[in-house]
């Protein structure tokens, strides 16, 4: 449905934001994982017609996104990573305003959709307050509501769960799942759980390139039997850092639990079940290593 090929973008300060990104995204939810600065937002903005790449193409169904931006915008729902709002306008009014811009021209339809989305994002009680006075989480929910206006075919949400409390995050996940399977929903995040919970397809983006693409369960399965863990003290941790390729460390009850990827168990390590986080970290780790080797 959404075909991205050979997308390249270099910013004027020399940063290579996108480096030949090629992706084929089917209907359904697609998770885009990557650390800060990996180029996720650049990719999202490019798909959302807000920035032009240096080269490459994007095709959504019958629409050439780069040369017919208005055609895509009619089918697009977009939640930017970071956004502000006009001052002194209530949520309901602002949502109504955006609904008109999106093309909900019938006022009864518009009212129903706006009110429905306010309820779904749990903003109903706050609908006549200025969005500019909202707390971070509330504003994020407003952002979600506006992205869903007008039943878009392509929904791009950039770090949607940032700032949401667990309850709201769950509510949002349910909302996304309920939207239907025929839409393309791209979810960019650095929270691995969002992807493992929601997405049948995913990709990992690092330094502007796609490092990994696939089904989360499949890619996790492929690591089975190669992940080892050990609980260590701070001093031991420092030693291990010298000798082993640590893919991730996590604190549990104040002590370090180290994950290592290897064919065989290093000394004192126990076998651990692979999860998506291991996949993500190992992918990044590998990318970094090849990078430093080639450098």
């Amino acid at each position: 449905m959404l075909r991205i090929s050979e997308l390249t973008k270099v910013y004027s300060n020399g940063v290579k934001a996108l480096n030949g990104v090629t992706l084929d995204i089917p209907p359904g939810m697609f998770g885009l994982l990557g650390p800060n600065g990996a180029g996720k937002s650049s990719l999202m903005r490019t798909i959302a017609t807000l920035q032009a790449p240096d080269s490459g193409s994007i095709q959504f169904k019958d629409v050439n996104v780069l040369s017919q931006p208005n055609a895509l915008r009619e089918r697009l729902g977009y939640l930017p990573q970071d956004f502000g709002v006009y001052p002194r306008i209530s949520a309901e009014k602002l949502l109504d305003h955006l609904a008109v811009l999106k093309g909900l021209n019938n006022s009864a339809d518009r009212k129903e959709a706006v009110e429905g989305l306010l309820v779904h994002t749990n903003l109903w009680q706050h609908r006549d307050k200025a969005v500019s006075s909202y707390s971070g989480g509330m504003r994020q929910r407003f952002g979600i509501a506006q992205a869903l206006l007008g039943d878009p075919d392509l929904i791009i949400v950039d770090e949607p769960t940032a700032g949401l409390d667990p309850e709201e995050r769950n509510r949002f996940h349910n909302l996304l799942v309920s939207l239907g399977e025929d839409k393309v929903i791209i979810l960019s995040t650095h929270i691995v759980d969002d992807v493992s919970e929601l997405c049948p397809r995913m990709a990992v983006l690092g330094q502007g390139s796609i490092l990994l693409e696939g089904n989360p369960a499949e890619v996790t399965h492929s690591l089975n039997g190669q992940i080892w863990r050990k609980q260590v003290s701070l001093d031991e941790y420092k030693e291990l850092q010298q000798s082993l390729d640590i893919i991730s460390t996590r604190l549990i009850g104040g002590s370090h639990v180290v994950h290592v990827m290897a064919q065989q168990a290093p000394e004192g390590f126990e076998k651990a079940p692979a999860n998506l986080e291991d996949v993500y970290f190992s992918t990044l780790h590998q990318a970094r290593r090849t990078d430093s080797q080639s450098a």
């Binding site: 017609t49 032009a52 006009y86 021209n105 429905g116 309820v119 939207l179």
Partner: protein, 1184 residues
């Protein structure tokens, strides 16, 4: 701590873009003002670019605008921790709040000073530029820069900075702080309008925060010499002013600012449960209702409503509107069109002029600010990504936003109009002209500004961010001021500009709207092009680079867009061609620079013929047909010419009038050459030389006509309603036209012309046969037949012999029964007329029916003048006097034989209902009447001082008539005006101030000083002796043209009636620039046996100044009025009694006087009625 936070703050601010932007602006403005004549800050005149006065004026005027600089930096510093959400981080640190805050304040203050230092730097570097006129640059004196910076700017910014730091800390809002600054600015402007009244000057000088008024007071009567060489000192008023503001600032920052406290108090408002929160949530709403494509019109209207609410309901606009109203409220204090402080009726044209005068600069600022604000609203609010990703077309945004900007500009005009309507109602004026308001404000003024808004939008669209866009726009505005220097003078090159559309109550908009309309269509075409390109290039998304947007131009335009673009382009090109054809092909276009070059060329080519003998016209019989609605005059004059010189005439230069392509001169035995290209001249060759004393008949005929429209150089003399043209404008004339020479010394130098005296030397008796009207202008016998349109009356000098109608046109035959000066005029308009008769003289006033307010006063003035002048000077030479109103394109009254054309702007519309105001209508009428004696009976030789005889004596005559009617009390107000204007005008002298009798057509001498000098003579010699002397002038020189009188004759006439001491006094008035400083230092009253002994210490000095104003003290020995009053003489009331008035002889230095009196006086004055030229008249009076 203090230094650390100072350093941190300063470094932070210096890295901000606003620092560079403001430095650039504050450097460029004074720089351009120095290097280009088209940018001016403050007044011009003959002062050096880097003289003390010019530097100070530039710095002080810009310092007023730097108020907003100060608020930007100091206020920004005060609020930044809050706005950037840093306050919690900062205030939890263990800091000494006092030194932390003071340090930050001082940091911001130092940065502001640093920015402002760009101003003196701009002037300094400007004066070093090689291309500027070196004669106008003196040696660089750093003290001129440093004194102003050190004495006024440094303490002033500190004081205001403390105040605004405190306010910003308190309000925690930049907007609020700007509001307060705006309030101060407004209050300052309003007070400044108040202080034109001399009574308030000293008090405002003391309290002016910018010390601009203070500086104005210090330098009020500075001469050119002073302005170039005297640096100000920090004494007296200036010192007190600075101390007052520093004390005020310090008090403010400690009391209001609360520096010792650190934390912000919580700002959050308690939220009350709203109605919405109680409504139950709807259940089961569908959220997947699909959007449909299209509906761009609906999107547009939604956006439009939104943008309109954003701009029209914003606090910024409310501030702006309040500012506008305050700005306009100055018309309450200084009435538009006021003369001598006497207001005009609030005619709609005056109201409109007040609005447009007030709006000029403000609209630049409004457009710059709002275009940035509106175009970048989405980016600025952070909502850009969401809005830009919606399927609304670019055009939706462009159109809704530009209309919002237009609405802002229009709202200013609406408020301006409502305010002036209220003003008209309050003044009891009810002839509302809504049509005129509409056309002037919403068509002629609003639309060009709207087009300017389109350009601003276009620039903002291409610009990478708001501030760069604003900067480009400011740079554009500034550079458009210097376009002229690049040869891009034609209005076609200056976006949004149109030729002016002057308005006259008589003639309405005349033909000027035609040109305006075409230019408007021309620019609208370009604006349409800019609009289509602008929306096609509209930036969507934060990273949409221009290069990439260019690729999608075709996509966004679509077929319709491309058609509109092509349409706009073809309108622009087609009307451009039409304008070019009209202004440069049908009419000649001469730019300012080219005009000067032509004038220089004219002088170089023809000045050698200045003294050639030329024929003198002695008889004129002219047929003049005026076609006002076709703007055409066909005229032919039978003339008799005579050789009054001493050589036969073989060749003579003919100067041709403007706007006259068809002309003919037929004189027997004379051939006429083709016009000399670009010189508006031709040669007459007398194949049969005109022998000395010989006279010959001839015919001159012209057709003055207009084709198409012009860009500049309009013909104001032929109008649909209100034609007024004199013979030199209408007909070719003999000899070199010296009025075409360049006068300005600097311009002459640029054209490499030699220095040239403005007038012939007073002693040059070879010029005594030459009239001050010019060479070859003598007395003529005059007769004329003039015709005009069927609904108009045509007037020319002479008595009406016959009036008839023919082919729907009115014909008038006028004939003069006695010779008149060869200076006559034709007038034609749809006039009403009132007639009266006084002692055998017919009096008539031809006026516009709308302007019937002051006819009685004019009539009375004519009668009183006739009485006074015939009694004291001699008989009136005509049997008739006529006043004729003409359009206010030109603002003067002028005396022709038995005919006075009188501009609508200087009396017909004056509001004389307040008896306290000077009745200048009466006065001007008397002045013009007096010219029938001074000018028409007694001419003047073409040497220095010629205008003294015509103008100063007319001033005197008019003052005497005015004094008879209104009494001496009212004259004091008038004379004080004249003295003040004379003293102030000395500083703007272009070449050299001449002594009274040698005035070289310097109006501030022959009018202003003339009044004062004549009043001094009146005081010293008395009315009887002055008039006796003047009568002797009349008796001797009445209708004499060989010789004409000079000021030497005038002085001799006065000397005739004066004793030796008085003659010395007259010599002082006539021959030297004399200034006095009379001051009562002390006054005591002692009671002695029922009598009062008053001792006065009077200090007296006398100075003689040279032409630059360099003064030297001279010994003084003068009879001066010493007056004792029972009440304060400044409150003019009936009870105020003069208990004692006697002339005492004062000598240089301190004079002790003892006077005995029966009554106790309370005030003493030395020359209290201001008969001597004294710069400080306030210390002439003392309370005892």
């Amino acid at each position: 701590m203090l230094l650390k936070s100072l350093g941190f703050e300063a470094k932070y601010l210096i890295r901000q873009p606003s620092f560079f932007v403001t430095v650039a602006v504050f450097f460029l403005l004074p720089f351009l003002a120095t290097v280009s004549d088209n940018v001016q800050i403050g007044g011009g005149g003959n002062v050096l670019y880097n003289g003390s006065f010019a530097i100070a004026q530039t710095m002080l005027i810009l310092s007023v605008f730097a108020l907003f600089l100060l608020v930007n930096f100091v206020g920004g510093t005060a609020t930044r921790n809050h706005t950037s959400n840093m306050s919690e981080l900062i205030y939890t640190r263990p800091l000494n709040p006092m030194s932390y805050q003071m340090g930050r304040f001082l940091g911001a203050y130092v940065v502001t000073l640093l920015v402002f230092a760009a101003v003196p730097l701009g002037v300094l570097i400007g004066t070093l530029m090689p291309w500027i006129d070196q004669e106008r640059v003196g040696p660089t004196q750093f003290s001129f820069y440093l004194t102003i910076f050190g004495y006024i700017i440094v303490p002033g910014f500190l004081a205001l900075g403390m105040i605004f730091y405190a306010i910003a800390l308190r309000l925690r809002s930049m907007m609020g702080t700007y509001l307060v600054a705006m309030g101060l600015f407004i209050a300052w402007i309003v007070t400044n309008s108040l202080i034109r009244e001399p009574a308030y000057r000293s008090i405002t000088a003391l309290f002016d925060p910018f010390a601009l008024v203070t500086f104005g007071e210090i330098t009020r009567y500075w001469t050119v010499f002073d302005k170039n060489t005297v640096a100000i000192s920090l004494t007296e008023t200036l010192l007190y002013n600075r101390l007052i503001w520093l004390a005020f600032g310090a008090a403010f920052i400690f009391l209001v600012g609360g520096l010792h406290k650190m934390q912000w108090t919580s700002q959050g408002k308690k939220s009350r449960p709203s109605k919405a929160s109680r409504m139950p949530a709807p259940v089961g709403n569908r959220i997947n209702l699909g959007a449909t494509s299209g509906h761009q019109v609906q999107k547009f209207f939604t956006r439009l409503g939104f943008e309109m609410r954003q701009v029209l309901l914003s606090p910024a606009l409310i501030v702006l509107l309040i500012f506008t109203v305050f700005n306009l409220s100055s018309i309450y204090f200084v009435s538009p069109g006021a003369i001598y402080g006497t207001p005009d009726w609030p005619l709609t044209k005056n109201m409109v002029a007040a609005i447009t005068d007030n709006f000029g600069l403000m609209l630049f600022v409004v457009i710059t600010y709002y275009s940035g604000e509106i175009v970048w609203r989405e980016r600025g609010s952070g909502m850009g990504d969401i809005i830009d990703a919606t399927p609304a077309f670019n055009l939706v945004f462009w159109a809704s936003k530009i209309i919002a900007l237009w609405a802002v500009i229009a709202s200013l005009y609406v408020v301006g109009m409502l305010f002036t309507l209220l003003f008209q109602i309050a003044a009891g004026y009810s002839q509302f002209e809504f049509g005129l308001y509409f056309v002037e404000l919403f068509y002629i003024n609003l639309i060009p500004w709207c087009l300017m808004g389109v350009l601003a939008f276009f620039i903002q669209t291409l610009s990478p961010n708001k501030y760069v866009g604003m900067l480009i726009l400011v740079a554009y505005f500034i550079s458009s001021l210097v376009f002229q220097e690049l040869g891009l003078e034609h209005t076609m090159w200056s976006y949004g500009d149109t030729p002016p559309v002057p308005y006259s109550d008589l003639n309405g908009h005349g033909w000027f709207l035609t040109a305006f309309n075409w230019y408007l269509i021309y620019w609208a075409g370009l604006a349409l092009v800019l609009s289509t390109l602008g929306y096609a290039l509209w930036q969507r998304g934060p990273e949409a680079k221009l290069k990439q947007r260019l690729k999608l131009v075709g996509y966004h335009l679509g077929v319709k867009g491309k058609m509109v673009l092509a349409f706009g382009l073809s309108v622009f090109v087609a009307t451009g061609g039409y304008i070019h054809y009209n202004t440069k092909v049908l009419n000649q276009f001469i730019g300012a620079e080219q005009g000067l070059e032509l004038r220089a060329q004219y002088e170089r080519e023809f000045s050698q013929y200045e003294d050639d003998n030329i024929p003198v016209i002695t008889d004129v019989n002219a047929n003049v047909d005026i076609f006002p609605y076709q703007r055409r005059i066909e005229a032919s004059a039978e003339i008799r010419i005579e050789n009054k010189g001493e050589q036969p005439i073989e060749r003579a230069l003919l100067s041709l009038p403007d706007h006259t392509k068809q002309w003919q001169v037929e004189i027997k035995g004379v051939t006429v050459s083709e016009p000399i290209e670009n010189m508006r001249s031709a040669w007459l060759t007398f194949e049969q030389p005109l022998a000395v004393g010989e006279s010959r008949m001839g015919v001159i005929s012209v057709t003055r006509a207009h084709q198409g429209f012009k860009d500049r150089g309009f013909d104001f003399e032929v109008a649909e309603n209100g034609t007024f043209i004199n013979n030199y404008s209408l007909f070719p004339s003999f000899g070199v036209d010296q009025n075409r020479y360049i006068v300005d010394r600097h311009e002459r130098r640029k054209q490499e012309l030699p220095e040239r005296p403005r007038a012939h030397k007073l002693e040059d008796d070879s010029r005594y046969q030459e009239s001050f009207f010019g060479k070859g202008v003598g007395f003529i016998n005059f007769e004329t037949t003039v015709s005009t349109a069927g609904d108009q009356i045509a007037i020319a000098p002479g008595y009406l012999q016959k009036r008839w109608e023919q082919d729907g046109r009115n014909y008038f035959h006028y004939k003069m029964d006695a010779p008149i000066v060869n200076f006559f005029a034709y007038l034609s308009a749809r006039h009403d007329v009132i007639k009266d008769e006084h002692k055998g003289v017919n009096l008539e006033i031809y006026y516009d029916p709308k302007h019937a307010w002051n006819l009685d006063i004019m009539m009375q003035s004519m009668k009183d003048s006739l009485d006074y002048f015939t009694t004291h000077f001699g008989p009136y030479q005509h049997r008739q006097m006529r006043i004729i109103e003409f359009p206010g394109y030109r603002s003067f009254a002028q005396s022709f034989a038995n005919t006075v054309p009188y501009s609508e702007g200087i009396g017909f519309t004056a509001n004389l209902t307040n008896p306290e105001d000077i009745d200048y209508v009466y006065y001007v009428t008397a002045h013009e009447m007096a010219h029938q004696w001074w000018g028409h009976q007694v001419g003047a030789a073409n040497v220095q001082g010629s205008a003294i005889i015509s103008e100063s004596l007319s001033q005197y005559s008019a003052i005497m008539v005015l004094m008879e009617r209104y009494g001496k009390d009212k004259m004091r107000k008038f004379i004080k005006y004249e003295l003040d204007r004379y003293l102030s005008a000395r500083g703007s002298e272009l070449l050299e101030e001449m002594p009274f009798m040698r005035s070289e057509n310097q109006s501030y001498i022959h009018y202003r000083k003339g009044s004062v000098v004549m009043m001094a003579l009146l005081d010293r010699l008395g009315e009887q002796r002055v008039n006796q002397a003047l009568k002797s002038m009349i008796d001797k020189f009445r209708f004499s043209d060989n010789p004409y009188p000079t000021t030497l004759d005038l002085q001799a006439a006065f000397n005739q009636v004066a004793d030796e001491q008085e003659q010395a006094f007259i010599a002082d008035l006539f021959e030297r620039i004399t200034l006095y400083d009379i001051k009562i230092k002390q006054g005591n009253v002692v009671e002695k046996q029922g009598k009062f002994e008053i001792t006065l210490e009077v200090e007296a000095k006398r100075f003689v100044a040279d032409g630059d104003g360099r003064e030297q003290e001279q010994p003084l020995e003068e009879w001066v009025d010493i007056v004792l009053f029972s009440e304060d003489p400044d409150t003019i009331s009936v009870d105020n009694q003069v208990l004692y008035q006697q002339k005492h002889k004062l000598r240089s230095g301190t004079n002790s006087l003892v006077i005995e009196l029966d009554q106790r006086p309370s005030y003493a004055g030395a020359d209290p009625f201001v008969t001597l030229i004294d710069r400080v008249t306030s210390d002439n009076i003392i309370k005892l």
